[in-house]
Every structure is written in structure tokens, then in C-alpha cells.
């Protein structure tokens, strides 16, 4: 019996969403009176034993380099093997791009119940019930997982990383790895940036900024706060900013601790992608902008005057001015 946590990685590093999943899995394991183990497919430059600090007793690795490339079918087969080898009764995986590809396949393969988009630890007082986001952030559902093996895909930024002490025992999982059915022809990736879905703070700009040449202050504020930058749909459609920065219903859905919307009116489609943010700040010239109704803090004012003053205040706070 164990809780098996799948560890996603990119560019040699563990994904933050997976460290959240491991912290969650370790807490769940202690709730169930079992141990938490981790599984990593592929290779990383980090020390696998260090996952012990997040609660993993053991780390299993299938260390083939070809596994650094996502193939949902192959991953699901290997995770299923690991479930068998470890006797895991719960699998926890981050509900990020990798998790969304792998978890449903694993569920169908094992005929194991899946909750995709979990936001809290299971309620095990009566069955095994997990709270998840539904209706694009406008409601929650409490979903009962009705099979012996259960799969929880945990939303990024829904559970805090908890780091303590300790080293995990690392072992190679001895399984056959078949060739991938998917050939990767090319990859383009902006490296070194905070990925939007993992960012704790996001600074976002809309049409109110008038043109791409005015994004300097957005980027400066974001950099000072260690934040990722984002934009609204009209901005991405006008090619002022790349499409992978578009947050909203048709773009990326995010749930940072702080979302700062600058020059965005707050159409319902935009809100659907950001309404899970813990704190929302809206800066808009129009005091009637609908976004203020969904905000925690607001300034009805000209972004071109307000944002530079915010930058000054952050610098002062950080002892930089």
C-alpha cells in the first residue's frame, strides 16, 4: 500500500506543480497510514534523493533519456507498471499539460477512478471524496472515487509545497520501455521564464495598454515581483503578445496567488480563465469596468500613470530605491 506521486520535469528540473503534488501525496499518505513514493520517467540533473524532503520515502526511476519526451501512451503504460510494482492504491499527478495527457489514459488503462482538477485533500470520512473545480472556476464538485485504485490530478497552485528534511531511497524500476509512437520534429520553448500555470504572481495587460510598445512597464513590474506576464485575448489576437501568454477561457486557465490585470475590462470569457486567482487586482481607467466586481483591490486610473508609481513603490519596498 502506498501513495504513488508522478514527478514531471523539464530542462532537468522537477516541476513545481509536481512538488506540490508530492507534498499533497505525502500528507494524504499520512492520513491513510501508508507511505508516499515517487516515480520519475526520464532523466533530471537534480538529485532524486532530495525528493525525500517533500515526503517521498522511495523514488522509482525509469531512467531512459528517450522518456524526456512526452508520449501519453507510453507514460501511462509505465505508470501502470509502477502502480503494480509498488502496490499503490492512490496515484497523484499534477494536472498540468503532462498530467492532462497521462492521467486519463492511466484511468482507462487501470479502470481506476480519476478526479481531474482536484483542489483539496480527499475526505475519507465516508468513502473517498475529492473536491475539484467545475464550470470554469465558477463552482466546485465533490467527486466520489468508487474504485480500489484512485487517481488524483491536482491543480497547480492549489496545494502548497511543504519542504522538510530527509533523503529518499532511489531505485531503478525494471520495466521494458517500448519505442514511442510519436516522433518529435521540433520544439520551441522560451526557457528561463516562469511558466504561466506555475507562477505565483501574474501581471497581465489588455487593450488599455494601446500597443505592444507599452509592455515595458508590465515586464518591469513582473520582473520586480518575480511574476510571469500574461495578456487578454484581443492582445494575443492582435499579435501584440505571443499566444502562449493569453489567459482566459480559450487561452490558459491560471490560479496564481496574485493576478494583476492592467487595462483589461474583464469580459466573462477572460474571468473564466483567471477567477481561481486568490487575490485579484484591477487597474482600469473606466470605473465601470466589469472586472472591478470580481476584484479584491482596484484602482480606477490611467495605467500609464499608476503602473510606474507601483513600480517605484515595489522598488522602495524591496529596498531598491
Amino acid at each position: 500500500m502506498s501513495v504513488l506521486v508522478y514527478i514531471d520535469h523539464s530542462e532537468g528540473h522537477f516541476k513545481k506543480a509536481s512538488l506540490e503534488a508530492l507534498s499533497y501525496g505525502a500528507k494524504l499518505a499520512s492520513q491513510l497510514g501508508v507511505t508516499a513514493e515517487a516515480l520519475l520517467l526520464g532523466t533530471v540533473s537534480e538529485d532524486l534523493a532530495s525528493l525525500g524532503a517533500y515526503g517521498a520515502v522511495k523514488v522509482h526511476q525509469v531512467g531512459q533519456e528517450s522518456l524526456n519526451q512526452l508520449d501519453a501512451g507510453r507514460y501511462a503504460r509505465l505508470v501502470a507498471e509502477a502502480v503494480k510494482a509498488t502496490g499503490a492504491t492512490v496515484v497523484v499527478i499534477a494536472n498540468n499539460l503532462c498530467g492532462k495527457a497521462v492521467a486519463p489514459r492511466l484511468s482507462a488503462r487501470l479502470k481506476a477512478a480519476l478526479v481531474a482538477g482536484a483542489v483539496a485533500l480527499p475526505d475519507t470520512s465516508k468513502g473517498f471524496v475529492v473536491k475539484k473545480n467545475v464550470y470554469s472556476g465558477k463552482a466546485f464538485a465533490h467527486v466520489s472515487l468508487d474504485t480500489a485504485i484512485k487517481i488524483i490530478a491536482l491543480n497547480p497552485n492549489a496545494y502548497p509545497v511543504s519542504k522538510g528534511e530527509g533523503k529518499a531511497e532511489v531505485s531503478a524500476l525494471n520495466v521494458a520501455v517500448d519505442p514511442s509512437k510519436v516522433t518529435v520534429l521540433s520544439t520551441t520553448q522560451a526557457s528561463g521564464q516562469v511558466p504561466l500555470t506555475e507562477a505565483e504572481i501574474v501581471v497581465s495587460g489588455g487593450r488599455g495598454l494601446k500597443g505592444p510598445e507599452n509592455w515595458g512597464m508590465i515586464e518591469e513590474l513582473a520582473k520586480l515581483l518575480g511574476a510571469a506576464t500574461a495578456c487578454s485575448r484581443p492582445v494575443a489576437d492582435a499579435h501584440w503578445r505571443p499566444h502562449n501568454e493569453h489567459v482566459g477561457q480559450t487561452g490558459i486557465a491560471i490560479a496564481p496567488n496574485l493576478y494583476i490585470a492592467i487595462g483589461i475590462s474583464g469580459a466573462i470569457q477572460h474571468l473564466a480563465g483567471v477567477n481561481r486567482s486568490k487575490v485579484i487586482v484591477v487597474i482600469n481607467k473606466d470605473p465601470e469596468a466589469p472586472f472591478f466586481k470580481a476584484a479584491d483591490y482596484g484602482i480606477a486610473g490611467d495605467a500609464f500613470e499608476v503602473v510606474p508609481k507601483m513600480i517605484e513603490a515595489v522598488k522602495k519596498l524591496k529596498g531598491m530605491a
Binding site: R105, K111, L114, F140, N244, L317
Partner: protein, 247 residues
């Protein structure tokens, strides 16, 4: 080329979300229903584009739902598609839905199965992956571009902070999102034609659901916005630091 497109019925994006029966049932009264936007704008329209390029392409629509989904299926047929299949099952369990679709796909020998990246009600992102596993086919999730290339497909999919171009042998299951195609409005000819297109109703195969919804819950209402003077943005930064404690 035979393509199966999965269509789901969802409440309109602007619909008020509320629950009845002691928070166990979605309050459907007065709600306007639409084709799940990802299924419509991206999966279906991209499939229609492929048929426009190669008119020998056959497009089948599949939906898993009760008779109340038929207006949505007719609307989808008005955009394009040759015929539709409705599996007569109303379920909130993704696996039950995916297993029905897999059964239809198995019988129809499709080269391609398209789904939307998720539905805007359950937000599960699960159907495509489950169907692929049940059919033992490759699965490309969150695709932004799709091109056919003989017996192969070239698919661009989203990865964190960028994109990846993949090549895969058909048949394949693809979940579609923004970038695949542009939204279309059905024209009068399409709407008239859709009335006579075949809509087959089949009974579901027996599947044991893996999950069940115990209850729904609405998030607590926001306390209301705290407005700060535009002359004093430093006060906003102080509040975020000392009150909200977000940095």
C-alpha cells in the same frame, strides 16, 4: 479519410451557475445550451476544413447524452458533418462517456478522432486520453495545429512556455484547442441541410461508472473590491504586502 468528432452540450459561457436538489443537480432552468466551444470552434471546424480540402472525407459526429442534446447536434450538423450518432446515456462520469465513444469509434474504423481540449462544465480534459487508451491509439493533447500528410499527421501541441511539433501515424486521437481553426457561423443552407442529415440514436453499452458526483458547491462570495486612489498606488502595494500578504 473518416473522422469522428466528439460533441458535448454545455451551458452557455455567460450562464448563471446554480444548483438545486440540495446542491446535487445543476439548475438548468432558463439556461441556454451551446455546443462546448472547444468541440465546436476547434475540433469540428478543423475537421470541416479537412473535408473542404478533400471532399471524399467523411465526418461523423458523436455525442453521449439524452434526447435534450439533439438541438445541439443539429446545430453542429448545420456547421458541417455528414451524420451524427447520439449514444443515449446521460452521465457525469468521464470514463462512462469515453467508453461509449470508444465503442462507436471501434465500430466505425475512423482514421481520426477529434475532441475539444475540455468541456467548460466538468473541465475534465479526460475524454480524448481515455478514448485513445481504450482504442490503444496514440494521443496528442492540446493541439494547436493539425495537418494530414498521407498516412501521417503533423500536429503542433502546447508545451509549457512553447510548442512542440509531432509526427504520428494514423489513426490518432487529438484534443483540440485555440489555433486549430477559427469560429464559424452556420449559414442558411447549412441549417436547412442539417434537418435532413441522419441522426442515429444508439443505446449505450453496459459500463460501470468509476466516479460519481456527491454534491456541488459555489465558491464563497467575494467580500467586494477595495478601491485605492489613483494618486496613491503606493498604498495598493502596501495593502498587497501587509494585508493580502501576497509578496
Amino acid at each position: 479519410m473518416k473522422i469522428l468528432i466528439c460533441i458535448s452540450k454545455t451551458p452557455d459561457t455567460t450562464a448563471k451557475i446554480a444548483f438545486t436538489n440540495n446542491n446535487t443537480k445543476f439548475a438548468a432552468e432558463g439556461v441556454q445550451w451551446i455546443i462546448n466551444p472547444y468541440d465546436e470552434w476547434y475540433a469540428l471546424v478543423r475537421a470541416i476544413e479537412l473535408k473542404e480540402k478533400d471532399p471524399s472525407t467523411v465526418l461523423h459526429l458523436v455525442t453521449v447524452g439524452g434526447a435534450d442534446t439533439e438541438p445541439i447536434i443539429r446545430k453542429a450538423l448545420a456547421l458541417g458533418g455528414d451524420e451524427a450518432i447520439r449514444v443515449n446515456l446521460d452521465s457525469s462520469d468521464s470514463f462512462s462517456v469515453a467508453a461509449q465513444i470508444a465503442e462507436i469509434a471501434r465500430q466505425g474504423y475512423y482514421d481520426l478522432v477529434f475532441t475539444g481540449k475540455e468541456t467548460i462544465d466538468y473541465n475534465g480534459s479526460s475524454i480524448g486520453g481515455m478514448v485513445a487508451e481504450l482504442l490503444d491509439l496514440p494521443y496528442i493533447s492540446l493541439a494547436t495545429h493539425f495537418e494530414l500528410n498521407g498516412t501521417k499527421a503533423t500536429v503542433v501541441r502546447e508545451i509549457e512556455g512553447g510548442e512542440e511539433t509531432d509526427e504520428v501515424l494514423l489513426p490518432v486521437v487529438v484534443s483540440c484547442q485555440k489555433g486549430m481553426a477559427e469560429q464559424r457561423i452556420p449559414n442558411m443552407k447549412g441549417i436547412m441541410g442539417a434537418r435532413t442529415k441522419p441522426l442515429k440514436v444508439v443505446e449505450p453499452v453496459a459500463i460501470t461508472p468509476l466516479t460519481s458526483v456527491v454534491a456541488f458547491e459555489l465558491p464563497p462570495a467575494k467580500a467586494g473590491v477595495k478601491m485605492v486612489s489613483p494618486d496613491d498606488p503606493a498604498e495598493l502595494i502596501r495593502l498587497l504586502h501587509e494585508e493580502a500578504k501576497v509578496f
